[in-house]
Symmetry: C3
Subunit: 392 residues, 3 copies
């Protein structure tokens, strides 16, 4: 439990570090251990065992009156699930284990190997590419990229010494291939014990001497209890269009969810978010009664596009919706390139992404978000297009 003080005002623990070959494995601290007053919390890392989760690490922040947040350093610092006030952010995937990437072959099923491990509340798609799989010049660009299956090279936990003792969990992911890429992302989760929100703050840097394209999608996924029949998606928007021909048929009710429905499969919509004068916007999933929800605030200068993935198939198949702020849509990288939505980092350049996730625990919390959406939307009408912008 030795701490490395970085700043006078915070304690720091290095859980993983490839440079010093550090790996804490099972590890735990509590506010009691640290003799901190205020909202009680604990931060615990466990190494999972058995099956395809052998060796996968899970780091869990538990707060007495706020949220419990679990993420996996082994799986790209992905958020596994969040809960609080009897509400769960996350979903029930048929994949139940926290699959160690050593058991994943991203190329299997013609680039769909990612589906062997997908069960997160939030998985980063990226960073060399982030969309649907495609083969170009013999190279298979696999579904949603490599980020979600990249083990963190460095993981550190920081706790502010001053109340309210903000917790920060930072993880470094390296997407590095000789001659191809040297993208590194410092992921950061910030949480103030007791609160109902947390922030993801990532910095993606191109450490190469050459400019490099990148893509990022924050694939944020919610199932029951928020997702249910007549649950609604809300966000201030400029436009909505169906991802493909199948989604056309759902356009009239694009923002309303059905009950778990056999053979529904998935319906995807491309959204263009509208923001306030500071470029901030918010998207949310609200349950049918309007007394539970989840919201994501983000900045459209960082993440200009939003994909809505409605996967209201049966419960066992994975009843889930994805609210996915991104630099691009989920089409294959070839289409995103052709249509000019792929971003680029110059040598040494960084891009920042900040998202605030909130658990909306009651009607009052929901109403605040609804008001904010209305306020940003203002009098502007959402343009509904019936034509997909691209064909896979």
């Amino acid at each position: 439990m030795a701490s490395i003080s970085r700043e006078s005002s915070a304690q720091r623990w290095l859980l993983t570090d490839t440079e010093t070959s550090t790996e804490k494995g099972d590890w735990k601290i509590t506010s009691e251990d640290l003799k901190l007053s205020g909202e009680g919390f604990s931060i615990e890392q466990k190494v999972l065992r058995g099956g395809k989760q052998e060796g996968s690490k899970v780091l869990t922040v538990t707060s007495q009156n706020g949220l419990t947040i679990a993420l996996s350093p082994t799986r790209g610092m992905d958020l596994l699930h969040v809960s609080g006030h009897g509400v769960r952010l996350g979903w029930d995937s048929p994949v139940q284990e926290v699959v160690n990437p050593t058991y994943i072959n991203l190329e299997s099923r013609n680039g769909l190997g990612w589906l062997d491990g997908f069960n997160e509340m939030m998985v980063r798609c990226g960073f060399e590419w982030s969309g649907h799989p495609v083969t170009k010049d013999g190279v298979l660009y696999t579904l949603h990229g490599r980020a979600g299956n990249t083990p963190a090279s460095k993981v550190e936990v920081t706790v502010d010494e001053k109340a309210p003792h903000e917790i920060r969990i930072r993880g470094l992911l390296k997407e590095v291939t000789f001659k191809k890429a040297k993208l590194e992302i410092w992921t950061e989760l910030r949480y103030v014990p007791g609160s109902d929100s947390f922030t993801v703050h990532d910095v993606l840097t191109n450490h190469a001497d050459y400019a490099h394209d990148y893509q990022i999608i924050y694939h944020s996924n919610f199932g029951t209890p928020i997702l249910e029949k007549d649950a609604r998606f809300i966000a201030p928007l400029k436009s909505v269009s169906p991802f493909n021909d199948y989604a056309k048929s759902g356009l009239t009710r694009w923002n309303i969810y059905g009950a778990p429905t056999k053979d529904f499969d998935e319906m995807v919509f491309n959204l263009a978010p509208k923001a306030d004068s500071d470029s901030k916007t918010v998207a949310a999933l609200i349950n049918s009664k309007g007394d539970k929800g989840a919201s994501i605030e983000f900045d459209i200068r960082q993440l200009p596009l939003l994909t809505l993935w409605k996967n209201t198939d049966t419960l066992k198949q994975g009843y889930v919706t994805g609210i996915e702020p991104g630099t691009n849509y989920a089409y294959p990288v070839t289409i995103e390139e052709a249509q000019g939505r792929v971003k680029r980092l110059q040598p040494g350049q960084s891009a920042e992404f900040a998202l605030t996730y909130s658990l909306l625990k009651d009607a009052s919390a929901v109403q605040k978000v609804e008001q904010r959406v209305k306020q940003i939307q203002g009098g502007d009408v959402i343009a509904i297009s019936e034509t997909p912008i691209a064909k896979e």
Copy 2:
């Protein structure tokens, strides 16, 4: 060595469990420890180290006067080898390590990566597909499926408190991919210490809300000392046909084995087993003198087809024969589908497979099986076809 009693009459040990993140690692119990009288036995798990077997687990049942049975939870509960009375069931593969699936890429060599780890006495081929590799719509269906390289998510050992203290080793394999499959199989090995037989009893369940095709082949492999020049394969049969053109040339002696033969490679025959009125049948490999053998009893309602794989190449190349009861033949899944041999499980539906493997230690044991084969065959002639039913 803590035991969890499930039934009043048995002791149970949980060796691996992903739900509780349990992994016993090196572990052992003996009948002495348990203060059980009767035939002495031990059950031991070891975690292998080095090379490509790093982290592979082997679970071995040893019985004083009966069999020693080794299986690998890391490799799909496959049976590695069995021995007793100076006879070995199994074979000598050029692959000597118990390869951890983390080192296997099933897609390598255009779908032949399975061959990097193949050395088992019995490996389950399945469950989404089980035959030779084929690419369809860009998806590579790799040789013999994924089952044999799936680490068990749950492993439990049970010992009956009542004599003769039957041992049961159960292992849960999950073949789960979001949107694609949620097949789970509970494998079970049952062994009564001191006996010369053991039973494999598997239950494959489709946990999805959609019907799903499945295939299973019990790829059971025997080399020396049973396999030798003039060793024989026996089984009551309706018909025999060559798998391909090469096998045509071996049709006159399809059930007799040659000595290790350079350039023999492999010759495969498709068999249709004949069963008794309870649908039970038996297939066996008998050595040339008829005083050693191995037999497999199975139920043709569960496993209607039988593949005979004669790989009597040189000793170093792998002198081995496969006796392979299955739901289908070993053709690519595309052919099996087209010819209507692929089975299907409805949502929630299970299929059971029970096979009894016996080590035939002497002429008397061999004769009993020979008699049973004759009895089931009765007066019916085996139809020999010269034409392969399909072309790869």
Copy 3:
């Protein structure tokens, strides 16, 4: 620290052994522990943690006044880096971790997955194939083969009891696939503490009953401080030709290096080495002042060809040159076959490869190598061809 004495005159430690399931993990011996007089040394194995290096082993020989040599048993006994007298043999790859092969998919990027782990001073390319990737009959022959990503099945350390206490590190790599290959290589590193040279002595054996083709390239890589503007490559040669059209443009200065140069990418030359009457030759990289260098001595009966890889791109991109003695050039195996440069081992046959690497610490050491190169070259002119011998 138990030692197994194999010969009366040496102590032996078995660090890894799949047959006995041995894995020492973190381990260390020193000349002091062994009560050996003379040049002090230590030999230490560490298991790395974190990121993609989780579980990778590094074995380091440190000598008081001579060299420090680091190799990785997990990555095919590859040499990671060597240093002494303020000079480093090796380079700075954008890939910084010692990537565990469990995280490598050699087939990714259409056969370029090897680049996800490439950062060694010397990596063996082979043994079934060793060159650039190519797909033939649906099979993807991945870049530089599998050897460099094969974990050693056996690792032993030997120290001579007699002065000067030569250290030998032997590692067994198995490239074994049922029906495809049973190639095994015993790699050996020999080092006399205090000296500026070490020897790699490998024996590749075909343990199959069938003849098998093989290829091997010793991909030996050097960056700063030896590689710099106006550094030179020297070797006695029969001929030089450009690998491809791009290399044509660099033919006039094929043996001189430029400073780190943006967009240089890589330029490759095919060399035919000239040897002395004992078939021995030497190739070296010399810095601009001629007071630092690295040389490789080898036998052209074993390694008849030499590839020069000039990758003088920017420092971050990987400023490095490869001096690569081999049985073949780096073209895809299909071209090497067609042009008759692929070697073959009969059943049971072995091929030996001995290379001496020297760190040239000063002008005197450099001059000795220059003289030797001149002596072997004699009056013979190097034939410069402008035409690549093949087109990929």
